[in-house]
Amino acid sequence: MFKFLTDRDTWQEVFDSLSKNKLRSILTMVGVWWGILLLIGLLGSARGLENAFNRLFGDFATNSVFVWAQSTSKPFQGFQEGRQVKLTLTDAKKVEENVEGIEFVVPRSQSQAMVVRNFLSGTFGINGDYPLLDQVQKKKLIHGRFINQNDIESNKKVVVISEDVYKQLFEKGVQAIGELIQINSMNFKVIGVFEVGNMNMGPSTDMHIPFTTFQQIYNRGENISWMMITGKPEYNIKQIEEDSKLILRNLNNVHPEDKRAFGSFNLGKEFAKMTGFLSGMQFLTWFVGIATLIAGVFAIGNILLITVKERTKEIGVRRALGATPYEIKRQILVEAVFITLLAGFFGIISGGWILIALDAAFGQGPDATMVNASVSIAVVFIALLILVILGTLIGLIPAFKATSIKPIEALREE
């Protein structure tokens, strides 16, 4: 068999019978070509979407939950229902100390403020933050730096502003770093400008000042607006959420089953939903792609079957001239596999072109819908392997059909 495959005559025969019947060969190939094209196009797009999604969420620690205080819904220990609960720094510390699997807890305070620079002004959200925020939600700084520990310890009046705030408070081309802006009539030095990403917590017009500075100027004392709890990767964030809330209820004299007292937003849960959706999409892609591929291979089998019918007489002549049934089968099988492979290669190449086109259309810039839409080489080879196996199996049908007719009947066919 190996010698047969390296024999020039074999390929001469295959090439002759395929090239002298061009229309038939092309029609046969279209099925497989289309199948593999779709498979690669779909898989590549799905990968591109996934990559884009990961990039979007890449700035967040996805294993996080945000917790804030609301009013109680149940009376407890002498307190009436509807009491406004307040979160404190002590709460944050206790949560960090007592809940299992916590990476870190970042307290945060929030307010709105009128911000003025020369003749430009606006109302923006002010956040009192720790440097750790950078680990929960990565800030991409265009200029300068983020708040550091030194700022916290010395209650420095420094501010990190968003790109959008910069655009509202500064004239075009003005260097913001080192400039002073007035927040509630107090001068703050701008130490950093960050880029507004695709995913944001809160509005894009945001600024961050050191947490301690915030507590001082707003006279918050121990009170905080909310806390961001990030779990270790191996722990279930949903469990951490439940445990933290239970501790918080306990610390604040809230009924253990009071669902309203503490609100939360579980980033991990939302993220899981999205990744679930993505893997669903990937499954669908594989399913559709492989189904199309199989349909294509069947198209090959079908056309080869017609071809064999058409070539009954030729096969009869060949057998009269001394071709054994094995030789006839082998010939038809090689034709089937060869045409499948050839179509497969074309499919892979044009699939690649489609991905290049998709990348050019949707894959450019930071807001790209698809990032690096691609298919791994392994997947391509597996697809090819499946094609060859299916092509062989399907080629067996017409091959056996071709030799099941007696040569005398084949010759009689007019």
């Binding site: 020039r8 005559d9 001469q12 025969e13 002759d16 019978s17 002298k20 019947n21 007489k313 030729e314 009869g316 002549v317 060949r318 057998r319 009269a320 001239l321 001394g322 071709a323 054994t324 049934p325 094995y326 030789e327 030799t403 007696k406 040569p407 005398i408 010759l411 007019e414």
Partner: protein
Amino acid sequence: MLTISKLHKSYPIGDSSLHVLKGIDLSVEEGEMVAIMGSSGSGKSTLLNIIGMLDEADEGEYILDGVPIKNLTEKKAAIYRNKFLGFIFQSFNLINYKNAIENVSLPLYYQGMKRAERQELGMFHLEKVGLANWAHHLPNELSGGQKQRVAIARALAANPKLLLADEPTGALDTKTSHEIMAFIQQLNDEGKTILMVTHEEDIANMCKRIVRLKDGVIMEDVFVEQVRAEQYV
């Protein structure tokens, strides 16, 4: 060369069966040129097919060149056909997407001969039928007579012991028929054994022996004075 005795063959037709050959006894020596004649339905084509190992007899004995032809597998039959027999068909049966020389060397391909040798031998046989200049033409670029000559070259390519011709002139005009017959006679002169089925009296008379079949039995088996075809050409 070949010996046939008490050969029977019937084909099933619905519930009943059609008894086509009802005990044929025939023996052909090397170098003979035999015409098998008979009206349609007389069983002459069936007989030729059995001799050609394209079909198998139900009963009786068939010995070709000392080899009993019985219960052959398809593979064995194919090898014997390739080794012993050359076929010439009424409708030429050339492969239409292969040129003349490729058609001629096809039996050699199935013998496993190397390409260069094959081409050389194919060319030799094409020269023999006078079509060397047409070696690279496709069948549809050739006339009927030329096609039949290519087919004859193909039948000769594997140097078979026996040439079987099924109405070789059936699709040709009289003049071309005579050309082809002249050529076949020449092959016989060179020693090839030839068996042909025909229903044309004048073609049969160009052979050396005429076997007449009727309703599955041999009616007459005579040696005749061969009419040379050259005189008409």
